[in-house]
Symmetry: C3
Subunit: 273 residues, 3 copies
């Protein structure tokens, strides 16, 4: 049950090592605290081995990557792979530049990635070498809709089979798949796209969920995705006249902070395919 996944995070307080972009890093940290985890950030190659060793999992996000942080990702990733720590890869902007695409592909090749979480354009880029990434947002042409859902589910499962990773494709409809099963999730609100970094926040939180649920990783990823989407719905209910995307950002993090297992279990909207 999804509620157990959340409760395991709150009960075990997983420490997550984040190598993430400087745009949304503060929100990533606060979301990790809100869901019951504990964040630490470090990207210096000389620092990351020890930091990742004291953590339970590693969240690699390639937004605002640079040569030093790429090296940090590799060093940390190798150590985390050695230690059998779960690793999440968030391929921000894959498809928008060769450096981003190639870095993501190289990390996938080199490391035991547990979860890849991105928008549909980023994931298509990694799977097919194509995809039409428009900056850091998914391209309209790629979007998962009710019409394209069957194809998208098949694509996600195939890519999971190929990579041996759990694939989380988030958007209006979210997909969380391994080779055999796919959660189709319909939580969330379109206004979440007007806040920078809800995807990055989800990646940090997902890492904590996977660390806290080692026997149940697919469901843990689905639980994290449902938590984020449901927080978007519950946070929206607290919006008042004059509020906008900045207040909404706070409301979503607050809703994660206040989420309990029963609320998640009741509010999660998903089917398994």
């Amino acid at each position: 049950m999804l509620k157990n996944c959340l409760e395991n995070v709150r009960n075990t307080v997983p420490l997550v090592h984040n190598i993430t972009n400087y745009v949304t890093v503060n929100d990533v940290a606060n979301v990790l605290l809100a869901c019951g985890g504990s964040p630490i950030m470090s990207d210096e190659p000389e620092d990351v081995e020890e930091i990742t060793s004291i953590c339970g999992g590693l969240n690699i996000n390639i937004g605002t990557l640079n040569q030093r942080s790429i090296e940090g990702m590799k060093v940390a990733g190798k150590k985390a792979s050695e230690l059998n720590h779960p690793i999440l890869l968030d391929p921000v902007g894959a498809g928008a530049s060769a450096l981003r695409t190639n870095t993501a592909l190289e990390l996938m090749d080199m490391l035991n990635i547990t979860v890849i979480r991105g928008n549909i354009s980023e994931i298509k880029t990694l799977a097919l070498g194509s995809g039409t990434t428009k900056g850091v947002d998914a391209d309209v042409a790629d979007r998962v809709t009710e019409e394209t859902l069957d194809d998208a589910v098949r694509f996600a499962k195939n890519f999971a089979a190929q990579t041996k990773a759990i694939i989380a494709i988030t958007g209006a409809i979210d997909l969380v798949a391994d080779a055999d099963a796919c959660y189709v999730i319909r939580n969330g609100r379109p206004e979440m796209g007007k806040i920078t970094g809800t995807g990055c926040q989800l990646s940090g939180m997902t890492t904590a969920f996977v660390v806290a649920n080692p026997e149940n990783k697919l469901e843990a990823v689905a639980a994290a995705v449902c938590t984020m989407g449901l927080a978007g719905e519950l946070g929206w209910e607290h919006m008042q006249e004059g509020d906008g995307n900045s207040t909404y950002r706070n409301r979503i993090i607050d809703a994660i902070y206040n989420m309990d297992g029963d609320t998640l279990e009741k509010g999660a909207k998903y089917e398994l395919r």
Copy 2:
């Protein structure tokens, strides 16, 4: 009309490449989303050419510059110049260190800068080699007041003529000038100075306005400056007992998010000189 400038942003969703400081970068991203644009951040020299190529404009902010990001600014700036993308330069702290002053001057020399936006001390430093920058805030001795306004307008127009850029000098009174005309803008509130990065936010938003209004750049910059100041006024009206600069930050971004063309047109306080 100013309202058209804002509506063009909302209708065209300009993608803006930002090379900006890590202090205020999250707010810059959320303000770009609030006004209707779309942000992407990248400062790695190997990444910036492709990123800037898929964008409509480039926002260069030299706060927390370093040797790598300076190289990124140059590479991105050259590419953006080649592509005739508008470039905004925010010379944060010019006058406070030789590295900042010289980097700003070098970028002005090397690139086709469309807009230079800073406080009066920073702009004086670039124009006169003097100016008495006190950290990242304008020095009192430099401030634009009703008494010094005529001189300041003349100065802004002359510097615009010399640089062929639109000059935006923001403070208690804001000036937006090209060689021939100067908007004198009296929106905003003094409490905005107690929030870090309202200037950086404005620079990001201004880039989006210029991208969305290629035939009408001077008015577009004035519209962005009025939008920011008016958001400061409208956000203030939502402040309640116990609120301070952190809540005010959110209120301003929320007010931009909710701003429509008519509100801007009615609330903008400017004269053309």
Copy 3:
């Protein structure tokens, strides 16, 4: 009196140079503005000498350190030492990696540090070479409680005597000690630990308090610590149903913004040992 310490900050607007981590840097800047100071950030070795020269004090925070920023810390620190500017060291994660521990120890060796502020695990690491840092949070085994208070006070005074710095150990009970006296402070709330960076924020604010109170540094540090803890209490009173750690972050900064000397004097809970 503590109230004078705060009022001196508001009256003199101390400019503080921060070399700090990119996770919490925006909040550090807004807290500095909220308390009456003025922040500037710079970590590029070529930039920091001039920047620190125009400031009143230097705040060095080693979270997300890298080889470039470590060099920046050394260059800035040497210049600040030469100029007799107060320097605060926040040894984030000392004990969690050799690079962090050694960087902190090297800076202590090389510079005239005025204040060292950290959690008990970080400070023990620096004092004893041990300490059981768990990421960036203090280990439960180390925590200062009413039972271990006498020992902790003695430890803080001894470390102050050894380092000739004021030692601020923050947690459920806060200690601010020089060789002869120790403030034992009981402001604050446990929920503050669910917000990223309240420690970093306090370090920035403490630097401003020390700059503004050169004749009275021990009391100035105690005043800053009480201001932060009391803001945590006052901010909490404004929390409403549905609010969580993100809103609480804003509430605390708002409470600092609205804090006056009398409120601080009346609300501060401390004893001198």
